[in-house]
């Protein structure tokens, strides 16, 4: 149905290389998220798949057919734009049917498609309105309806939720996920919001400066990042990074005025790397208040932690302090976190800690 292969894609605007040798296979029915900071080339990659920009080199294969030279309309792709791009002078119904009209679908068939799509998206009461009379969330639905109407092989979503307010964004996120479950069509979705990426994706592709950093499931990207960049990009609050001196396969940290040696899981790689100083990466949820249940875990240690700032977030509280003069965030329960201060007893679980080469930013493993 709608598999996509990107083989050796290069794209530059003038002398600026926007995409460098991108290779990516997207399976039929997959929900793939392209994520990266602004200017990383993710939107350009999407426009290339849609055929709205021309390739410099490489090929795009959709459903086994090389479409690199084909015009957008012959690629059987529908796209939802960040600005929705609804036709302002047309009614909602005509917006949804415009693609069908252009492809000469018979009128009665158009009507039945319109009925099906508008009921699916619950916009059947809005069909006579103009886009200007709709709220942001309704426009979003109409834009999706327009994409759905043509039953394409592939859906492209270009930051579709970024113009919505926070609450609506969460709602629409769930709707998109449900929609994908129901129709099962391949979706390529561009975002810079890592929560969207984590919640929606079957697989995530992380881009930086036009290069593919890592492709993997949300679990892989979150727990097993290939580089400092990927680790830093995913997660909120983000991963802690601490420069540590290596001593007898352990890492030396200074916290709460005392020195500790942290036991870490990947000692073999550490020895092989022959580094004296490494970057320790540890997620905030691995730094908690003392939990009796974790007592027999060999990677768990208790250390003193001088909490400088606390940020209560409701469900939990983020406590911020320092290790080796690097800022460190711990994720505490509100009961113990909201009163945390100097000399707080912190439980550190290093079983999922990862190490990076401080010079290259790459994983040590």
């Amino acid at each position: 149905m709608g598999s996509i292969s990107l083989n050796g894609i290069n794209k530059s605007f003038g002398s600026t290389e926007v995409l460098k040798n991108i290779n990516l296979d997207i399976k039929d029915g997959e929900f793939l998220i392209l994520i990266g900071p602004s200017g990383c080339g993710k939107s350009t990659l999407m426009n290339l798949i849609a055929g709205l920009e021309d390739l410099n080199s490489g090929e795009i294969i959709i459903d086994g057919k090389n479409v690199s030279e084909e015009s957008p309309k012959d690629r059987d792709i529908a796209m939802v734009f960040q600005s929705y791009a609804l036709y302002p002078t047309m009614s909602v119904a005509r917006n949804i049917c415009f693609g069908l009209e252009m492809n000469k679908v018979p009128k009665d068939e158009q009507a039945s498609i319109l009925k099906r799509v508008s009921e699916l998206l619950q916009i059947d009461h809005l069909l006579d309105r103009k886009p200007g009379q709709l709220s942001g969330g309704q426009r979003q639905r109409v834009a999706m309806g327009r994409a759905l109407a043509r039953s394409p092989k592939v859906f492209l979503f270009d930051e579709p939720l970024s113009n919505l307010d926070a609450k609506l964004r969460v709602e629409m996120r769930t709707e998109i996920k449900k929609l994908h479950k129901r129709i099962g069509t391949t979706i390529v979705y561009v975002t810079h919001d890592q929560i969207e990426a984590m919640t929606l994706a079957d697989r995530i592709a992380v881009l930086k400066d036009g290069e593919l950093q890592q492709i993997g499931t949300p679990y892989e990207i979150y727990n097993d990042p290939v580089s400092h960049f990927v680790a830093d990009f995913m997660g909120s609050p983000g991963m802690n990074f601490i420069e540590c001196i290596v001593k007898d396969q352990n890492l030396v940290i200074e916290s709460g005025g005392q020195k500790y040696e942290l036991i870490i899981p990947c000692t073999e790689a550490l020895i092989k790397s022959n580094l004296d100083v490494v970057l320790l990466g540890i997620r905030p949820e691995m730094l908690t208040e003392i939990q009796p249940s974790a007592a027999d875990n060999s990677f768990v240690q208790k250390i003193k932690f001088d909490v400088e700032v606390i940020e209560p977030m409701g469900a939990d509280t983020v406590a911020i302090g320092q290790w080796n003069e690097n800022e460190v965030m711990a994720r505490l329960s509100p009961e113990s976190g909201n009163s945390a201060g100097k000399g707080f007893e912190l439980q550190v679980d290093t079983s999922k800690a990862i190490l990076f080469d401080p010079n290259s930013g790459l994983r040590i493993r």
Binding site: F98, G99, M102
Partner: protein, 289 residues
């Protein structure tokens, strides 16, 4: 306290209004003189006050200006020349507006190599004075066999007007989000379908602006009219000039005034009918999607 405020407010308002009325009066005085003079007979004009209302209003001068005043040796009034102008203005306005709309659409949304240069060159056309192109254009019209014809004048006005109409449409269309074009391309629409279904329905204000502009420019044109027309194809501006300069016996100011108003009436009418769109169109452009 409040009454004091009210007084201050009133004084300010009175001051503003009196100034506005004063300038409006100065601005409208010539029109008033033209209109009243056109309703007087020649005896009253000679003896009376310029600003006075007509004692015994008569439409004699209007009738004469329209149907029997002499322009040179031809004494059929302005009527035939009025229709000449109509036959020049309508095709010229329609063609130059349509060409400008297509040009503007292409230059704004279908950029190609050299399109910016082409636009710059067209823009340059707006600043070329009429006088510069008189001779080459005369030569061209001669070669095409269109010298002294209405068609020739239409061609001249279309060529000269396309620079302006293109500029208007291009700048208007630049403000329409390119994502609309992209969405329509993915929906399977091509160059003409996108123009017809998406751009034309958004273009009412800029069509009105362009039509008013072109209508006024072409209707009021004198130089091209006097240079490229033959004796039977002169537009009304040229005929008006000839009428005023033809003196059989004494100068008939009332007929001159009536003729001048007749010549100006269509452009006035266009402003009255579509003027509000003109202001709106000049400030519009942003389309909220």
């Amino acid at each position: 306290m409040s009454s004091l405020k009210l007084t201050k407010y009133n004084i300010g308002r009175t001051f503003i209004y009196s100034i506005l009325i004063f300038f409006a009066f100065i601005y409208l005085a010539p029109l008033y003189v033209m209109f009243t003079t056109s309703l007087k007979d020649i005896e009253e004009i000679r003896s009376g006050n310029l600003m006075a209302l007509p004692i015994d209003p008569t439409f004699y001068a209007w009738k004469k200006a329209w149907s029997s005043a002499c322009t040179g040796s031809d004494c059929r009034g302005l009527a035939p020349y009025f229709w000449n102008s109509v036959r020049i203005v309508f095709p010229a306005v329609i063609i130059s507006t349509i060409v400008g709309a297509f040009n503007g659409y292409s230059l704004a949304k279908w950029k190609f190599k050299g399109s910016e240069f082409l636009f710059g060159a067209l823009l340059f056309g707006c600043f070329i004075p009429f006088q510069v192109i008189l001779l080459p254009m005369a030569k061209l019209l001669g070669m095409l066999g269109l010298a002294n014809t209405v068609t020739g004048l239409v061609l001249v006005h279309v060529i000269y007007g396309v620079a302006f109409t293109t500029l208007f449409f291009r700048n208007y269309y630049v403000g329409i989000p390119t994502e609309l074009v992209r969405a329509a391309k993915l929906d399977g629409a091509g160059f003409f379908a996108i123009f017809r279904h998406i751009f034309i329905p958004l273009s009412t204000p800029i069509f009105v602006v362009t039509i008013i502009w072109q209508f006024t420019q072409i209707w009021n044109d004198f130089l091209f009219g006097v240079v490229y027309s033959g004796s039977g194809t002169q537009p009304i501006t040229v005929a008006l000039n000839n009428l005023v300069n033809t003196s059989v016996g004494g100068k008939e100011y009332n007929v001159d005034m009536a003729a001048a108003i007749i010549a100006a009436l269509p452009t006035l009418a266009v402003y009255v009918i579509a003027g509000k769109y003109f202001v709106r169109g000049l400030t519009a452009g942003a389309v909220k999607g």
